[in-house]
């Protein structure tokens, strides 16, 4: 192996050989079906479930997998500020052009081959004309832009995700618009052909910056506030307890990310109110966006909260500085949970302050009031207020839940478990669409599901409570939580379930919904097993 190109290619092949073998195996299977089992020319409807299961889902999964492989996504930290390009490669005696060019060439070639192979083997005659070239170019362009945007160093943690999602969604939108207006193949090629060279230039700039250690630091914004804070008397007194000190530590390390991200996104979202011109639907869409922003952002920042060592991209162990704190694993988790509460409240304070101000200044307040009046007239003041409060509380609790729900996975520090759970989640999300579509299209399935709903809910409750009991036993056996803490925790959880059940019974006072169903829903809605598992996961990681 005497060339850098071969060495870089070898690394991709060697490291991801099992995944690439699986992709090749899939293509082999569909080619066998295509050429040996199906009758020549047998039509297959594009929107059929069979097509989704055999072609769409595996192809989408493979596409996402190849994106991660060729952008070094498996070893990097999406939420970090520094480049995801492996720093160890910066010291290789090769040019930036080679560092960028070879992975991009291999990646774009892999994407193009994937589409062409799928087009040849998997996309059977279906009665519609399926283009040959531009989808391959689109896949290559999406990969090239993913590489460029993930290899770029950013000024704030989490910005990479937002920029990447926005840019890739913009490219997708352009292509969808072109399809909508029935653009021909040459037009599609004209749109997509410049994307790869453009992305290459951006990636070269990104890698050059990262290679010379030029990572912008926009945390200066918070440092500015720190300078202002310096003018105030600095707290000199001691923390009243180790637990408070740890909450302060978690807040400084993770707590401010969510409010900062929410503030940044809200600015753009609420600015759209000035374009609404009293269009009710548009105003409510923007309001919905504003309300969904904290839980959506919390899903991303939750990743960093659940990482034991967010400063090191590919380290999953608890850093010795934290592991040697004289605190129990449960106390370390409690600090994270409290930080998540403060972070959630700060993010929602921003929403509650900025949204009414933006509504008032943009002149769209009246639209909201008019709809509120209608709701009031329809269901009465008490129920209307309860309804709105319930929605807001639901969003707030959901934000907190998003921040803490992956603690039990991330804190285990086991790479196979973390990556396995990501893969499972992705698979679930990919399968969700076709399954929902199948249910919507099948009245028989809907009936069966509705009839089996109590059984399904009861089964889920059984699973949840069994898992919680098993985890509680382990916590007790390992002395991670005392008897008193377990009893108090169980009492608090029961109180929360009862409160939610009460609200649901009051709100859905209809004979069509059985009360035991509401009770099952309340039990499932209040988090228990995953939160209980977090100290166990941390202890497993802390004492390896």
């Amino acid at each position: 192996m005497r060339s850098p190109a071969l060495a870089i290619g070898w690394e991709f092949r060697r490291r991801h050989r099992w995944g690439l073998i699986a992709v090749a195996g899939y293509l082999f299977v569909v080619a066998t079906i295509r050429f040996l089992i199906l009758e020549p020319g047998e039509p297959v409807l594009v929107d059929s479930i069979r097509f989704a299961a055999v072609v769409s889902v595996p192809l989408t999964t493979t596409f996402v997998y190849l994106l991660a492989v060729f952008s070094f996504g498996f070893a990097g930290d999406l939420a970090a500020r520094h480049s995801m390009y492996p720093a160890r490669m910066f010291t290789l005696p090769v040019t930036n052009a080679a560092l960028v060019g070879w992975p991009m060439l291999y990646g774009t070639a892999a994407m193009a081959i994937l589409w062409l192979a799928a087009r040849l083997f998997a996309v059977w005659p279906s009665g519609i004309e399926i283009p040959l070239i531009w989808p391959a170019l689109l896949a290559a362009a999406l990969l090239a832009w993913t590489q460029a945007l993930t290899w770029m160093p950013y000024g704030l943690p989490g910005i990479r995700l937002i920029v990447a999602v926005l840019c890739l969604a913009a490219l997708d939108t352009v292509v969808l618009l072109a399809i909508h207006f029935k653009a021909r193949e040459p037009m599609m090629l004209a749109i997509l052909a410049p994307q790869v060279p453009l992305a290459y230039l951006v990636a070269r700039f990104a890698v050059a910056r990262a290679r010379r250690g030029d990572v912008p630091d926009w945390r200066g914004l918070s440092a500015r506030s720190g300078e202002i804070a310096d003018l105030l008397p600095r707290p000199r007194d001691h923390f009243s307890s180790p637990g408070r000190a740890q909450v302060w530590f978690e807040w400084r390390r993770h707590g401010r990310s969510l409010p900062a991200l929410v503030g940044l996104v809200l600015l753009f979202e609420l600015a759209l109110l000035w374009l609404a011109n009293d269009a009710t639907a548009f105003v409510f869409e923007i309001l919905f966006l504003a309300l969904i922003t904290p839980p959506f952002m919390a899903a991303f920042t939750g990743w960093t909260v659940s990482k034991p060592n967010p400063n090191v991209s590919d380290s999953y162990g608890v850093p010795p500085f934290i592991a040697t704190r004289p605190l129990t694993s449960a106390e370390l988790i409690v600090a994270k949970l409290k930080m998540a509460i403060w972070s959630t409240l700060a993010a929602w304070l921003l929403v509650f302050v900025t949204t009414p101000l933006a509504l008032a200044w943009s002149g769209t307040w009246s639209v909201l009031m008019e709809r509120a009046q209608r709701l009031n007239d329809a269901i009465g003041t008490t129920r209307a207020v309860a309804f709105v409060l319930l929605i807001l509380v639901g969003f707030i609790v959901s934000t907190w839940k998003q921040l803490v729900q992956s603690l039990h996975i991330g804190l285990t520090g086991r790479e196979w478990l973390i990556k396995g759970s990501v893969l499972l989640t992705l698979t679930f999300l990919i399968l969700l669409g076709p399954i929902v579509e199948w249910i919507i299209d099948s009245p028989g399935v809907q009936r069966a599901l509705w009839n089996a709903l109590p059984l399904i809910l009861a089964g889920l409750v059984g699973l949840k409570m069994s898992a919680a009991a098993w985890i509680a036993t382990r916590l007790d056996r390992h002395r991670l939580l005392g008897d008193r803490a377990l009893v108090v925790g169980a009492a608090c959880w029961c109180a929360a379930v009862l409160a939610l059940y009460g609200v649901l019974v009051w709100f859905f006072s209809t004979p069509f919904v059985a009360r035991y169903l509401l009770a099952l829903i309340a039990i499932l809605a209040v988090p228990l097993a995953r939160l209980l598992a977090a100290p166990l996961a941390l202890a497993w990681n802390r004492h390896r």
Binding site: R253, F321, P326, H543, R544
Partner: protein
């Protein structure tokens, strides 16, 4: 003359009592990482009031042993007791009595020095503010400086400050001076000496810089390929290796006893 003899024997008895009480007891400890045996049936104890030098080649198992003492690794087989307690089952009781300076020195870069001191002080009931301030001045650490802006030597000093300021019963220094300049190394050795001056305190000092260990340790444990090759008071060790009236250095003893046997096994 008689009173002097009485005082000497009293000191000897006191020393015997303090030394006989083990701070750390490791019994039949074995640890494997995949196919590699990092520690192979290690039995070892560390009496109170001693300065222990833990020496060995890179990958010999020093850090693995220290991580077991801190409870960062769970004993696969055998047992570890620190102050008579299991450091995994009872981390708070054990860790609150230990000062630890990690080889990695992973202090949070975003903290200011004064924040680091304020934060760390919350965990130790015996934290001594005056002593912390004295150490900060001695180490010339600016309280307003961020940890990430400190040089490597200053970071080591900051780490040392928070390891010492609660006057721990056991000070654990894991390769504290590797890669540091002679001035910082002097500070670290000074800290060890200062800790020894506090009666009844114990120091575990892991290093492969044997001249440093020789300077401060009164007991040396040599480890190679996950096994304890020898463990003895330094004076006894030198005496037993004396050849032709010449007292060997620790370096010479190490080469003679460990030599080619020190085939490295990776530390985790």
């Amino acid at each position: 003359m008689e009173s002097h003899n009485n005082a000497t024997s009293l000191c000897a008895i006191t020393r015997w009592f303090t030394v006989s009480e083990s701070v750390v007891t490791v019994s039949e400890l074995t640890r494997r990482f995949g196919a590699t045996t990092a520690l192979a049936s290690v039995s070892w104890s560390m009496p109170r009031g001693a300065v222990y030098g833990l020496v060995g080649a890179n990958g010999a198992g020093k850090t693995t042993l220290i991580k077991h003492i801190l409870g960062l690794l769970r004993a696969e087989s055998g047992s570890v007791r620190v102050f008579g307690l299991d450091p995994v089952a009872d981390p708070v009781a054990v860790l609150s009595r230990i000062g630890y300076l990690s080889e990695e020195n992973d202090l949070p870069g975003w903290m200011r020095v004064d924040e680091l001191i304020r934060y760390t002080s919350a965990f130790y009931p015996k934290w001594d503010d005056a002593y912390a301030d004295e150490l900060r001045r001695a180490f010339a650490l600016d309280p307003a400086a961020k940890v990430k802006e400190l040089s490597r030597g200053q970071k080591a000093r900051a780490g040392l400050l928070i390891a010492l300021a609660h006057r721990p019963e056991l000070l654990v220094l894991d390769e504290p001076s590797s890669g540091l300049d002679p001035i910082v190394r002097r500070d670290i050795l000074g800290a060890v000496i200062r800790t020894i001056a506090d009666e009844g305190r114990t120091v575990l000092f892991s290093s492969h810089l044997l001249d440093e260990v020789e300077e401060v340790a009164d007991h040396v444990t040599m480890i190679a390929s996950g096994r304890i090759v020898l463990s003895a008071p330094l004076a006894d060790l030198k005496e037993s290796h004396r050849a032709g009236g010449c007292v060997p250095s620790l370096n010479e003893i190490f080469v003679a006893r460990v030599g080619a046997a020190a085939s490295p096994a990776p530390d985790p």
